[in-house]
């Protein structure tokens, strides 16, 4: 067995990627606070460190020092597992996203991306489903009617919006002919997928915003402002984990959109051919752009009432996604 190539490189890559995602999730909170503030004609946090860059650290230290309260009436094991499952599901989503070409680090050929699964898109959908477990477990184990209701609403929302998500991805698969994320990336050499699938992109964007319980669709968590709903009984680190998990999900979903619809690290071949790391920079630029979209949509839209957005999903998004799929299939068959 090739110890270096088959063991050490993947392990080191995994560690680096997880650390990067943790930091990314933490700094996504700062990004949202500062960019959201600029939309509201004010500065964001700028006291903790230059430009507020140490603010996430300050928040983490605060959360760590808070008293860990495990209320007596909760199901101890599930209570502790809830945030963990939610966060783990988000972290493993990133495994199928390539973020750069093969580079040579210290004499070893390293492909920038955790793995190359032939059913990458299926894996993404499956893991997105796992995310709802963390939500439901959190609400159920809290042994609290309001948490349970909030969790059920949140889970119902997440599950319903998986349909338009999957249908939009199916249209992409119909065009590309493969579930492999790297193949989809290669396909976007000339034009990013958003040009071929503008409606699909919009459907995917809206559905993934709903999946992360964010911006206009954050009723399960922000009813009566954040507490109440499945996070009521959580405090300190566990709450920070849920909260951070939501922002990390935002980052990971941005990477998914950047890869599948915006051309990943490859698209303007002019730029990505310049240097191996130019692709990584391009990828990061696209992720940042999608994160900007996330915050922009959050500041610009009012919250949607729960029954209205369920209706919106089933009566508008799903039919639209099906029509998109049908039209795509017909066009591909004809061309």
């Amino acid at each position: 067995m090739d110890w270096v190539g088959d063991f050490w490189i993947p392990v080191i890559k995994a560690v680096v990627i997880v650390v990067a995602l943790l930091l990314g999730g933490a700094y996504a909170t700062l990004w949202e606070r500062k960019i959201g503030a600029r939309f509201q004609v004010r500065y964001g946090p700028n006291m903790a460190g230059p430009f507020g860059l140490l603010q996430p650290m300050a928040d983490a230290v605060k959360a760590i020092f808070k008293e860990e309260v495990n209320p007596g009436h909760v199901d101890r094991l599930l209570f502790v597992m809830g945030p963990g499952i939610s966060y783990a599901a988000i972290l493993i989503t990133f495994a199928v996203i390539p973020f750069g070409p093969q580079v040579e680090i210290l004499g070893q050929e390293v492909s920038l991306g955790m793995g190359d699964i032939s059913v990458g898109l299926l894996y993404l959908m499956a893991v997105a489903g796992l995310g709802s477990y963390g939500l439901v477990l959190g609400g159920w184990s809290s042994n609290n009617k309001y948490s349970l209701l909030g969790a059920l609403r949140g889970a119902a929302q997440m599950i319903s919006y998986e349909l338009p998500l999957a249908l939009a991805l199916l249209a992409v698969v119909v065009i590309v002919g493969s579930l492999n994320v790297s193949t989809i990336l290669d396909f976007q050499g000339d034009w990013p997928m958003i040009v071929l699938q503008p409606v699909g992109f919009l459907i995917f964007l809206v559905a993934i915003i709903a999946e992360t319980n964010r911006s206009p669709f954050d009723l399960p968590e922000t009813e009566n402002e954040l507490v109440s709903g499945f996070m009521t009984e959580y405090g300190g680190i566990k709450f920070a984990l849920y909260f951070m998990g939501e922002y990390t999900a935002m980052v990971v979903n941005s990477t998914i959109i950047a890869t599948i619809f915006l051309g990943g690290w490859k698209w303007p071949a002019l730029i990505s051919d310049l240097h191996p790391l130019a692709g990584v920079a391009l990828f990061l630029g696209k992720v940042v752009f999608v994160l900007f979209l996330y915050v922009w949509i959050r500041t610009a839209t009012p919250r949607v009432r729960y029954d209205k957005f369920m209706r919106f999903c089933w009566k508008f998004m799903v039919p639209l996604a099906l029509i998109n799929l049908a039209v795509t299939a017909v066009v591909v068959a004809l061309v």
Partner: protein, 180 residues
């Protein structure tokens, strides 16, 4: 449903345009301790007991101990005890001066009525607003403290009135009856 969604989509795009326009404008936050606050001339801050700067009574205190400010104050936070001017000690023009003059800043609501009521322009409201302190007793401002000038960390904006911060709608009246 379809028509609503299309209209809704367009409305969302419009609101996103509005927020984007504000994204590129300068934030209005004043970083207070580093930057001074911008105040208008008639801002009512901490009180000050004045003296006469010039004229025949230069150097004397303006306060004549009449207690009109205390009478007019809605929260009754001013306490005035008048003393009589003698031949040796004359602190104010006229017969009386304020021997004890205290304002309870915890009760004061900074309405400015005392300033309007005062016949000589003794008690005025300056622009000092950073008044926090560590004990309740220290916030009952005695005469000595009220005589101190104020140092507000502020810029006074110009609203075109050349107001110096003293609400005196009586002009500079001379308190002595023989000079009225």
């Amino acid at each position: 449903m379809l028509k609503d969604s299309i209209i809704g989509f367009w409305q969302i795009l419009r609101s996103m345009g509005v927020t984007l326009r504000y994204f590129f404008s300068k934030p209005v936050t004043v970083q207070y301790p580093k930057e001074p606050v911008r105040l208008y001339p008639r801002f009512r801050g901490r009180h000050e007991l004045r003296h006469y700067e010039d004229g025949p009574y230069e150097g004397l205190e303006r306060c004549i101990g009449c207690s009109l400010c205390a009478a007019y104050c809605p929260t009754q936070c001013i306490y005035v005890y008048a003393g009589e001017n003698t031949d040796e000690v004359q602190r104010s023009p006229g017969e009386r001066y304020a021997e004890i003059y205290e304002i309870n800043l915890l009760r004061c609501m900074f309405c400015g009525y005392c300033e309007e009521a005062c016949p000589t322009g003794a008690i005025v409201m300056r622009r000092e607003f950073a008044l926090a302190d560590y004990s309740r007793e220290s916030l009952i401002y005695t005469q000595e403290r009220l005589l101190e000038p104020t140092t507000p960390h502020a810029i006074i904006l110009d609203d075109g009135t050349h107001h110096d911060g003293v609400h005196q709608n009586r002009g500079h009246r001379d308190p002595l009856p023989e000079n009225a």
